[in-house]
Point group: C2
Chain length 298, copies 2
């Protein structure tokens, strides 16, 4: 029969303190409890571990052989507990996060900075992938959760929480007038050169569908694949980009401003995606919480 932790604890402590009474005091139990534990472990092993007169207490050879093993076991158990506590208190851990490219460049840096300053010990595996990949990637378990814009396709495998919702905006060069506008309509843009995402991308599809419902149509001068391309072109004066406001990283493009578009207002969601049937690790939970705060106060 295997010894219990309690028995090993008693064994080591009695050995170290050379006394049942002292060991009992250390463990905050009565002397008879320890006396019993020692007897139990001796019965388990069918072996005397201490030669004890009423006065003195001497470990036997067998005891001396057992002590190192017992100490190893106890310290491993304590180490395990400590490690688990560290995980709970996010002093250690590793999380895998998937983000769509747009989120990665515009929103993630701030979230990441906050998280890393708060929980510097946690390792982060960052996967910046195409928006369409987000859902399967997380569902397959490659990442604990994902942040980005994607369709809720209704499969119950995923837990989806909307973190922020920003209107599609016109992004143009600050010229003293443009950035003062509180609002623009789609119709206001007909005279301008427009830069939009290529047909087939999620953003573009959403725009086209929304405009079609109001009998309008987007006629971009330029179509691009990457958000940063659009922004760079706009910054160079090539035209006005049509993008969700949150996708403009202000630090990176200080000369640009975003003005919300109305009639119709087309909202883009940024959501947090995770597997419905899996608990987030404490570290991931904290990451999600920081993402929530960073994006909701915006």
């Amino acid at each position: 029969m295997n010894p219990t932790m309690r028995q090993l604890e008693a064994l080591v402590l009695v050995y170290r303190l050379g006394s049942i009474t002292k060991a009992a005091a250390e463990l905050r139990v009565t002397q008879s409890a320890i006396s019993l534990l020692i007897r139990q472990i001796e019965e388990n092993f069918q072996l005397k571990l201490f030669d004890r007169t009423t006065r003195a207490l001497h470990p036997t050879a067998a005891c001396r052989e057992a002590i190192p093993a017992a100490e190893r076991i106890l310290s491993s158990a304590r180490g395990l507990s400590q490690h688990m506590r560290d995980l709970v208190e996010v002093r250690t851990g590793r999380i895998a996060v998937a983000v769509s490219a747009g989120v990665a460049s515009a929103l993630l840096p701030r979230i990441l900075a906050r998280f890393r300053s708060r929980y510097p010990e946690v390792k982060i595996d960052l996967f910046d992938i195409a928006p369409d990949e987000l859902l399967p990637f997380v569902t397959a378990g490659h990442a604990e959760f994902g942040i980005g814009s994607f369709e809720d396709d209704g499969t119950s495998e995923a837990r989806i929480e909307t973190l922020m919702q920003t209107p599609l905006s016109a992004i143009g060069v600050k010229d003293g007038r443009f950035e003062k506008r509180r609002r623009l309509t789609w119709a206001d843009l007909t005279a301008s050169d427009l830069i939009a995402m290529r047909r087939g991308t999620r953003i573009r599809t959403q725009i086209d569908e929304a405009l079609a419902q109001t009998g309008q149509e987007l006629k971009p001068a330029l179509e691009v694949s990457l958000i940063t391309t659009a922004l760079a072109l706009t910054a160079e004066g090539a035209g006005i980009s049509i993008l969700p406001a949150h996708m403009l990283p202000k630090a990176q493009f200080p000369t640009l401003a975003a003005v919300p578009l109305s009639q119709p207002i087309v909202n883009r969601h940024v959501s947090l995606l995770s597997r419905a049937d899996f608990t987030l690790s404490p570290a991931a939970e904290q990451f999600a919480e920081i993402a929530r705060r960073a994006l909701s106060t915006k």
Copy 2:
């Protein structure tokens, strides 16, 4: 709080089998017992270890981190149990034995051979020391027990058990007549050249005291310090040695024979000496047992 062995056992088994029910079957308890153990360890750690729907069971990241540690702990515990069992069953161990020189050469070889063939895994530290050293050596804890001839000085620290008792004998060369004698008296020897241990040795002291009580006196032609010297001299025809019969190793001196001396009979004891307040290890116990049998049947 530290996890219990039982909890770790359940954790590892559930992880390995991917099922609470199967783990329960393996441990011969009900499913609910395991369910409870898992919940307990989760509460201890304040951490989900398995994401479980009613159907499936998935280890969390924390669980995967815990498993190796848990397995180490369990296998150490089993290793410890195994080691203790090996000690009990004398499949391993190490014993320190002290013997006086006379015993070492004449009696020990046979005991040792038997013990080693029966318990080949046990390491033996053999100390062949002067008879006077035997008691302090064992009392000081340098050897688990000793075998030899010594005075029982009455201090209760030692446990003394007489293993054999042999009369002092005349040891001479087999010449067709000498070895046929069943018995000789001390008086019979007055005409012969006698070889005895030097004055001051225990054997000699005992002889002198016993003879003095019957008004006799030993007048050796030669006095030596070592038993083998006496035997070698006798074998070379230098005279008759006066020694306990058991001190003649027959294999080593095939030409010699021992004839008990009477009037008076002077008995020498060979005893097993151990510390009264210490338990013998299982290996030592077996060694003592073999010594007992080897010497009593003689």
